[in-house]
Amino acid sequence: MSRSRLVLFASMSVVVLGVLAGLGALWMDPARAAVGPLPGEALVLPADTRFVMGIDAKRVVASPFWARYGSERSMRPQAWRQLEEMTGLDPARDVDQIVVAGSGTATSRTPPLVLAVGRFDPDRIAQTLQTSGKATLRDVGGVRVYEFAGPSPSASRTQTLAMALLDRRTVVLGPPDGVEATVRHRAAGESPLQQNKGLLGLVERVRPGSSFWMVGDQTLLASLPNTFSGPGTGGSGDMGPSMNLPTLKAVTVTADLDPEVSLAIVGEAIDDPSATKLADVVRGFVALATLQARQKPELQRLGSAISVATEANRVLLNARLPYELIDSLRAMAMTSSAGATDEGSPAEEAAKPK
């Protein structure tokens, strides 16, 4: 074998070994699931689901995000807090993945179904719920379903929630009828979510291995407002002419948290011109935010943190936010909200001694 052939052989060996190792990693990847990143257990969720959201609890807990903000209750997802408060579970320890499935509109107050996959001790959960005295127990097809009063999105009232342990790996939490239906589907060996081809088609496109992902279809997005008022030009707080936003057919969000927060949002518009229009609107907002950020040295990186592109009828928005930038943005938000509180209402202002 000549020297050049030897070089080619060595080079080809590296590539072939790499491809084989890649195929092996793909095959054995724990993130490999029934549909994209969706675990097989979640296929018992209802067929009329309009959006699905997934949280890889293990990745979240291992990320710098958790190290920085894990102790802050407000920085945890709502599904996470519900699991903590109502079941006594510690998602950071017990849960591998959380899947949230909503069948309400974007503005409805119907709570979504939360399905958690992990390692659970049914006896301990039952003991926690029963000793709390807040849960009532009933039997649905041989599965114990606990019902209790949970917090409502509107703080003034409460709503009934239910929780069922489908097996030692799966807990489902949400509205009682949804939980009951899930239990029955599971007992019958059915996979209703598989009937929702449109939504599963979107889930298939999500890259497995993300810390967070979310997909929503047209039925969810149709209920969102697609008109907003532009800023006025007079400087007196009046609003300018309203602007129509193109309707989105679907939206996909994926996020990673290590070593910085990286976010990828893909919005699918009805046609190419709509996607271009939407991208232009988003670019406008990014440009405005960048201009404002330039006045503050700590926000200098905001301009290069976000990119917007179009691909046929899709708008692609990528953002990479270092934790220092998030800290600065949070500090700004806190300062402005504190400022708003200090200013008080006009009546209070008038009552102040001069």
Binding site: L8, S11, V14, V19, M28, D258, R320
Partner: protein, 269 residues
Amino acid sequence: MRDTTQPLPFVPATRAVFDLSLEGMIWSRRSLLMGLLVALPAVLAVVYRVVLASGTPARGLAPLDLYALVVAVFWIRNVLPLAALFHATSLVADEVEGRTLTYLLTRPITRPAILAGKFAAYLVTSLAVALPAAVLTFFLLASARGWSGVGAAVPDLFRDLGVMALSLVAYGALFTLMGVLLKRPVIPGLLFLFGWELLANLPGYLPRLTLTTWLRSLIRHRPAEEGLSQLFAQVQPVGWSLTVLFVASAVFLAAAAFIFTQREYVLEQ
């Protein structure tokens, strides 16, 4: 018994030129320099792993973001076109400069077979450096924080390997054409790469006149950028991108073969 009045059939002739050219091309100083440049990210990935292993707090890019940047900006946009420029423009020019073209042209092989053999040798030489570098860089960076996320990123690796190969084909075909068309093709080639290809950052239809627009539409990495490219970033449909790149490569190569066949080479004494 072969009819010696006829030239060798295309395939055996191409194979013979390929074997001859490969030996000289792999061990040339140009290949060594380009090889070092193309393989630089693999060295960078090793440094990244060492820094990570030393316990230095992770700031800046995540490993897979760094890989995305290397693929989209370093390889696809800059280094692979540059490697194609220096290799492909010299396929015939080196023979002319070394006054060895006569020996090739007097053999019983057709001119298109000479060009095809030399182009194949360039492609194999470039791929032999670029693809292992991509594989090594990917695994070094993707496994930097453990093997749990590697599987999810593997489809991107396969896609990147394909796009890197396609960029070497497309730019190689174009620079082969420039090599047979122009006496000094390197300067126009550099102007094309770092002048004309910047049209990809403009709005409207102009980006479609560049190769880089079609190539970067095929990869999934979209590193955040600032400036014009951020404002007007366009991504073309995958089917269209593949069609345009294959058709453009075929047209460039056919034109190069036609010109090489028609041209009379007078070697300076």
